[in-house]
Subunit: 383 residues, 2 copies
C-alpha cells in the first residue's frame, strides 16, 4: 500500500480493531469521543454528486447558568487543483473558484458560519520551482482582487465568514505576501493576516517569493466568535499559536500545504497541542493530491531533478481545548469538514486547567527579553 | 475492558492490523520507525525475575564529517509504590529505594548513562488528601537527604547521571518544593531544578504543599550531554519547554504523576510537540498503578468521597526531534525504558527545519512584554 492510497488512520482502526480495544485506542489517541453532527440528506447527496467527502462532527460544552451556548459551525475545505499547472493562469483560478464555490454551497446547506480554505488556495503550490513566472501572476490584491470579490459574493450570499488564504500582491510597493483575507459575513473585508514564519526546508524556500508577515497576531471579531489565522509553517512555532491566543482568539485556523514525507507525523500533534495549551479550538486544513510542474526542479537532497514533490495528504481536522479531536478528512479526496463547536468549552477548559493563570508570563517576558540579547548568558550549570 | 487492564495502544495495533496498514498507521501516528536496541540477555532475565518490563530502542543520526556520533543511553523508570500508604514513612521510602535500586542495576547492565525517575518517586502521590501529615515527612534535603545519598551511591557505582525528582524540604526556611535533584556520574550533586508550574485541577491543588519554583530554566552540563527537567504539569506550558531549550537543553526530562481520566489523551501529544518544536529529545516518565489512602477525600466534582483518584497509566516514552517516538512502556506494569539517542540528530533537525532561526524571538519578547502589562490592548480587529 502506497502512502498515496492509504485513506486514513481512523478508517483503518475502525475496520480492524475489536470494539472494546477500539474504544480504548480511540480514547488514548483522540480523547473524548467526538459526536457525529447530523447533516441534511440534500447536502450529502450534493457532496456525492460533486465527488467530495462530507463529514460532520460536534463538540459540546456543559450547560452554564449565566451564559447560553455559543455554537458556531466551521467548514474546512480541502481540494486538489483543478486544471494542469500549465493551463493559463486565469483559467486555473476560475476553475478553482468554481470547484470551491460548489463545495461552499454545500457548506451553506450544512449551516456553516465560518469557512476556511487551504493555503494559497487559488493556485498550485509552485514555490518548489524557484520560477517567478507565471506563479507571481497568481498574486492578487487582498482588498480588491478577483478572488476577494469572489469570496465577498460567497460571504453575502451565504451569510458566512470566509477565510481566504492567498498569494497577495501589495500594489503600491509591488511586494508579495502569503496572506489570509478575512471577509465578514456582511461581505466586507474585515482585515488580513500575513504568514509570520517562512519555511526554508526541502523543496521550499518560500522567501524566494515573500517574506515574514508584518501584521503581528491580529484577531478578528466576527459575529460568530473571535478568530485568527496561523498560516502553514507557523504551526511549528508554539509562540505563534500562543500569541494569537493572548490576543483573544477563540478559534485559530491553520491553512496549510504540506506533504507526507516531510511532515505527516507532525500533523496530528501540533494543532492539537496548540488547542490544549491555549484553551481554544484549532482547525488544521491541508490540500490533497500531487501537483506536476512542466519545468523540472531539484530538492537539495542529492536526488535527480523531478516534476513533483510528493503527495499532499489532506487529513484536515479540528482539535478542541479538552484534548479531543475530530477524525481527519481523507488523505486522498477533496472534502468538506463541518464542525459545530460550543465556544463556551474554551472558558470551561481554562477554568479546569488554568494554563493562562499558571503561565507565569511576566517571568517569561523577562527571560525571553534577556535571551534575545547579544550578551545572553544561558543558565548552564557545570560541575 | 477497563482502562486499568488495557496494556498499550502499540501492542493492540500490532495484534490486529494487517502488516501493510500497520506500517502506514505507525508512520502517521509515530513517525519514522524507531529501531530496536539489543540489550543483554542477562538484563532481560533480571527484569523478568524482578517482574518489570524492559524495552530498548534507539534513534540514529546521519554520519557527519566533522563530528563523531554523540550516543547517549537514557533510562526511564516507572513503578508502583511498594508498601501501603499507611506503612511507616521510613519503611515506605526504604522499600521504594530497594525497588528502584534493583531496576537501576538492570539499567547499568544495559549501559544506561542517564537515568530519570518519576515525579516524587519516594512517596505515594498523596497531595489529593489535603493532609499535611504524614506526607510532608517524606520531604528531604535536596543536597544531603537520605534519598540523595542513595542516588549518589547509585551514580558512583554505575557511573550514571541520576535525575531524582523528590519532595524537597529547604531546612533553613522550612519550605517545601517539588524538585528534581541532578546527580553527576561522579556522585556529586550537580544542582537542582524546581517545578515551575503548579496544578490547581481536580484532586490536586499542589500549592497546598509547595509553590512555583525559583530555579528558572537551569540546564545541567553532564558528561553525556546538556539535560534539563520540566516537572509534570510544566509539560502543558510550551513556554516552559521552550525556555529550557533556549538555555541549551539537548534532552528534557518530564517526570510526571498523572492519571487516565484527567490527561491520557494529552500524554502522547505534549512531550512530542516539545521535541519537534525545540529540536531536542524529550523523555516523559509517568508512574503506574492505583494508590489507596486511609482517609477519604473529595474531588470537587460533586461525587462522593473516596480513597483513590484513579489509575496512573505509565506509558513512559521518548520523543525525538525528527517527530518520531518510541512505543510507550506498559500502562499497567513497572518498567525500564532504555533508549539510545545520537544527540547529533538535534542539530541535524535544526539545520533541516530551522525553527530557532525562523522563530522571530525578538518580536515575541516585545509582544509578550506588552501583553503582560495592565494597559495591554489586544490586537482585535472589528468591523
Amino acid at each position: 500500500m502506497s502512502a498515496c492510497e492509504f485513506e486514513s488512520v481512523e478508517k483503518c482502526l475502525e475496520a480492524h480493531l475489536p470494539q472494546a480495544e477500539l474504544s480504548e485506542v480511540r480514547r488514548v489517541l483522540f480523547g473524548k469521543e467526538t459526536l457525529k453532527l447530523d447533516l441534511p440528506t440534500s447536502a450529502a447527496e450534493a457532496a456525492s454528486e460533486r465527488d467530495f467527502e462530507l463529514k460532520g462532527f460536534r463538540f459540546e460544552a456543559a450547560p452554564e447558568q449565566l451564559r447560553p451556548p455559543r455554537r458556531v459551525r466551521v467548514g474546512l475545505v480541502q481540494h486538489r487543483i483543478v486544471l494542469p499547472t500549465d493551463a493559463p493562469v486565469l483559467d486555473q483560478v476560475s476553475a478553482v473558484h468554481s470547484r470551491v464555490g460548489e463545495i461552499v454551497e454545500v457548506a451553506a446547506m450544512c449551516g456553516v458560519n465560518v469557512v476556511c480554505f487551504q493555503e494559497a488556495w487559488t493556485m498550485p503550490f509552485a514555490f518548489c520551482t524557484r520560477e517567478k513566472e507565471p506563479w507571481t501572476e497568481f498574486a492578487e490584491s487582498a482588498e480588491g482582487g478577483n478572488t476577494t470579490r469572489f469570496c465577498q459574493e460567497l460571504a453575502r450570499k451565504h451569510n458566512m465568514v470566509v477565510v481566504s488564504p492567498m498569494l497577495e500582491r501589495e500594489e503600491l510597493h509591488g511586494t508579495l505576501w502569503n496572506t489570509a483575507v478575512v471577509i465578514s459575513n456582511t461581505g466586507n473585508v474585515l482585515g488580513k493576516s500575513r504568514k509570520n514564519h517562512i519555511p526554508r526546508i526541502g523543496d521550499f524556500n518560500e522567501s524566494t517569493y515573500y517574506m515574514e508577515g508584518n501584521t503581528g497576531h491580529a484577531v478578528f471579531q466576527t459575529q460568530f466568535g473571535r478568530i485568527a489565522v496561523n498560516i502553514c509553517y507557523g504551526r511549528h512555532h508554539p509562540l505563534n499559536w500562543f500569541m494569537y491566543s493572548m490576543n483573544g482568539a477563540e478559534i485559530i485556523f491553520n491553512p496549510s500545504a504540506t506533504v507526507g514525507a516531510l511532515s505527516e507525523a507532525m500533523w496530528p500533534i501540533e494543532a492539537r497541542n496548540a488547542a490544549i495549551a491555549n484553551h481554544c479550538f484549532t482547525c488544521a486544513v491541508n490540500r490533497v493530491g500531487t501537483e506536476h510542474f512542466k519545468s523540472e526542479f531539484t530538492s537539495g537532497d542529492g536526488k535527480k531533478a523531478h516534476h513533483d514533490f510528493g503527495h499532499f495528504y489532506g487529513s484536515s481536522y479540528v482539535a478542541a481545548p479538552d484534548s479531543s479531536r475530530t477524525p481527519g478528512l481523507s488523505r486522498t479526496r477533496d472534502g468538506l469538514l463541518v464542525v459545530e463547536m460550543d465556544l463556551n468549552l474554551n472558558r470551561q477548559m481554562s477554568d479546569k486547567w488554568s494554563f493562562k493563570m499558571t503561565g507565569r508570563y511576566a517571568e517569561y517576558a523577562d527571560e525571553l527579553t534577556k535571551a534575545v540579547r547579544q550578551d545572553f548568558k544561558p543558565n548552564i550549570v557545570k560541575e
